[in-house]
């Protein structure tokens, strides 16, 4: 496989984008940064599938497509299935010699939002991973159903207000903790699972390339700040990811072969979670005195999770 040079950003910038502008994602959306970066990580042909969601409804609105590669969207839930079946068809046709170009190198990639990954498409994702297809699944995790006006998903963190977990006089917003999708996918025995963030572009590119190069189903959860539903200025998308990774709200780590955990980023100065929460309108209510304990809970959850990640890393099991 032909991976591209990620030695430095100048080298990386010599790649020719295969994801075009004039898509209709919101200004400042991180989805397209992540998609562009993935596509620039390889020179190989790509077959890409997408679940229904912001990415899909914004990049293939008839009569326009923003994709310069083969691309398919079927439904909300089945991107993992369609692309893995495409991969099997490729194997059969290559063997039979019926492909247009039998030597063309190709990689299979599926994109889903957190709603389609954590919730409605989880069965399809789990099935495709159990079957050990050779593809990479990337979750664009903006922690809500942004495409339909910001409903809570099982990726929405505790304390966030959404249109279906409304914060108000009697509620601090979502009550439940975010689902630990990375561990769940690692538990499938996937050869490579990671959680990455676009602010650390090189780390993310490294992870993408590792996933593309590794045979078998690889899963990457990427934080994709949503200015529309998280309520911050579009220009601040990268700053929000800086706060997410440096407060450890969104730790960056990988799990190899289902068990070998490596922490990829250790912030020099770990920021208090208030800095991250305070930068977004969806957590504004938590700064009222009556909900202060929720911020404390979020901080203590982060501390516990970080300690747990470090223990798992040290244990090497």
């Amino acid at each position: 496989m032909a991976i591209t040079s990620i030695k430095n950003l100048k080298e990386f910038s010599t790649n020719n984008d295969r994801f075009e502008g004039a898509h209709t994602l919101c200004p400042g959306c991180a989805h397209s940064m992540i998609v562009r970066e993935l596509m620039n990580c390889t020179d190989d042909n790509l077959v890409i599938s997408a679940n229904t969601g912001c990415l899909e409804v914004s990049t293939a609105v008839y009569p326009f497509t923003s994709w310069d590669t083969s691309w398919i969207h079927i439904g909300f839930e089945n991107a993992a299935t369609s692309v893995s079946a495409s991969q099997v068809m490729h194997k059969v046709r290559k063997k039979k010699g019926t492909l247009k170009d039998n030597d063309a190198a190709v990689k299979f990639v599926a994109f889903g939002g957190d709603g389609s990954t954590f919730d409605i498409g989880f069965q399809w994702l789990s099935g495709a991973f159990e079957r050990q297809h050779d593809f990479t699944y990337i979750c664009l995790d903006n922690e809500n159903y942004a495409n339909t006006g910001g409903q809570r998903s099982s990726a929405t963190p505790i304390g966030a207000t959404t249109s279906t977990s409304v914060a108000g006089t009697h509620s601090y917003g979502k009550k439940e903790k975010k689902k630990d999708i990375v561990s769940i996918m690692a538990a499938h025995g996937s050869p490579y699972v990671a959680q990455l963030s676009p602010n650390k572009w090189k780390m993310m590119a490294k992870g993408f390339q590792k996933a593309l190069e590794t045979e078998g189903p690889c899963f990457i959860n990427t934080v994709s700040p949503c200015c529309t539903e998280w309520k911050f200025e579009p220009k601040d998308t990268i700053e929000i990811t800086d706060l997410a990774t440096d407060s450890l709200m969104f730790p960056m780590y990988e799990i190899v072969d289902g068990h070998e955990l490596n922490i990829l980023y250790r912030p020099k100065n770990i920021l208090p979670v208030e800095d991250y929460l305070g930068a977004q309108g969806r957590y504004k209510h938590l700064f009222k005195p009556e909900y202060k304990h929720i911020i404390e809970k979020i901080q203590s959850d982060i501390d516990t999770d970080w300690a747990r990640l470090q223990r798992r890393e040290e244990a090497r099991v």
Binding site: N45, V47, S49, E56, V57, A60, V61, Y62, P63, T65, W67, D68, T69, S70, W71, I72, H73, I74, G75, E77, N78, T81, S82, V83, S84, A85, S86, V88, M89, H90, K91, V92, R93, K95, K96, T98, L99, K100, D101, A104, V106, Q123, W124, S126, G127, E130, R131
Partner: protein, 410 residues
């Protein structure tokens, strides 16, 4: 290279085995499936052909029927030959993606072994699942026995993959009565079948990297209608292709298929229209009625979609009273099949009487006697010049007589 699987001139196959042999002979590249009773053996058998080297394809057993059809779509958009099978609840779970397959114009072959829809849960044959697919934009063929299940499965590839058609196609057979009853089947030899089916010539192939394509774009009110209209026209326009492939198959096998089959209809005053295994029973009943002096005939719909309206009008032109048999719970209306036939006859010159019989739900038998009773009622209608019974009646049902809708004679 696949190992040769020997077939005899005459085999004793049930409908499931017959359909699976068609998949093998058509050299299907990928089967994505989630087995369900009574269609299970079709995909199991394909899997065993892969496992024993009789075919060079791949069998993917997924985690649900929705995923099965989703995988078929991904595989079919990737340019190869694709087929699967399902029934009943599995068919219902597939419905979302059935519409996607046809909307994307992907030539997937789906063998449907008809079975009732729950609740209450039932594994036996009726046509509820078949009817559920009737607006899905698929071509739908009905097989009445194992031989036809085999023949139509082979022909379906030709129709679906034809560049003037490019539509997914279902072949229906009745659960258990066809799927699990071993009958004489005369298969084509492997060479003749392979030559007949040919190799797929893909369109908009996702694995042709010289021409990247986007499948599954969003269309709103400014584009959706035109796409659906184009799709409907494609189904209607598949008629000459279907007829030509049926004719070619007749040359090859001696077995004749028509989109609408008719038996003893030349001089018939009364007739029963049916689908599936009921057709053969009705033919026996019609013969017995003729012995009793009633000019009885039988009409069967081979091609449920595209529905043969014009041919139906022609064949029923001189018939006086028609019984349309619906093997699906009508849910507060006339049977769906009745509605199709009534719509066709409403626009005919002769405007024959059209009645509706709901029968056989959940695999309940319909006997020769039941069918003869239906013929007799049609004769009474023909003699009276109006419908003498309620328009919709339930046949072979326990409890007080159940019937609905009256002819307005005022």
């Amino acid at each position: 290279m696949a190992v040769e699987f020997e077939v005899n001139k005459r085999e004793v196959w049930d409908g499931n085995y017959a359909a699976s042999q068609a998949l093998r002979q058509a050299d299907v590249d990928v089967v994505v499936a989630y087995p369900i009773t009574p269609s299970t053996p079709i995909v199991e058998n394909y899997g065993s052909y892969v496992g024993n080297g009789y075919i060079d394809g791949e069998f993917i057993m997924v985690e649900s029927e929705h995923a099965a059809m989703s995988g078929c779509i991904g595989a079919s958009a990737s340019g190869g030959r694709v087929a699967t099978a399902t029934s009943s609840q599995g068919f219902a779970l597939m419905v979302e993606v059935l519409y996607q397959a046809s909307g994307m114009r992907l030539p997937i072959i789906l063998n449907v072994v008809n079975r009732a829809l729950a609740a209450p849960l039932n594994v036996r044959g009726d046509h509820a699942d078949m009817y559920l697919g009737r607006d899905s934009g698929w071509i739908q063929f009905a097989a009445f026995n194992a031989q036809e299940a085999y023949d139509l499965a082979l022909m379906a590839f030709r129709v679906a993959e034809h560049h003037d058609v490019r539509l997914p196609t279902m072949i229906h057979q009745d659960g258990f009565i066809t799927s699990h009853t071993a009958q004489n089947v005369y298969p084509l030899s492997n060479e003749v079948a392979a030559k007949f089916v040919g190799v797929i010539d893909p369109i908009d192939d996702m694995l042709d990297f010289s021409k990247p394509v986007t499948y599954g774009a969003q269309t709103e009110e400014d584009w959706h209608f035109e796409h659906k209209a184009k799709q409907h026209k494609a189904i209607i326009d598949s008629v000459p292709v279907i007829d030509a492939i049926f004719a070619e198959f007749k040359e090859l096998s001696g077995r004749e298929y028509k989109r609408i089959e008719s038996y003893d209809m030349e001089d018939a005053d009364v007739c029963v229209i049916g689908l599936g295994t009921t057709v053969e029973s009705a033919r026996v009943a019609a013969k017995e009625m003729r012995a009793e002096g009633v000019k009885a005939g039988v009409v069967a719909i081979r091609c449920f979609r595209p529905f043969p309206y014009e041919e139906l009008r022609t064949v029923l032109e001189n018939c006086k009273s028609i019984a349309v048999t619906d093997r699906s719970s009508p849910g507060g209306a006339m049977g769906a099949f009745y509605n199709e036939v009534a719509a066709a006859m409403m626009t005919s010159q002769s405007r024959p009487l059209v009645t509706n019989y709901i029968y056989g739900l959940g695999g309940r038998d319909i006997s020769i006697e039941n069918l003869k009773e239906i013929f007799k009622e049609q004769q009474a209608n023909a003699d009276a010049g109006y419908i003498t019974t309620d328009i919709q009646q339930f046949t072979n049902l326990r409890g007080p007589k159940l019937s609905f809708f009256k002819t307005d004679r005022s």
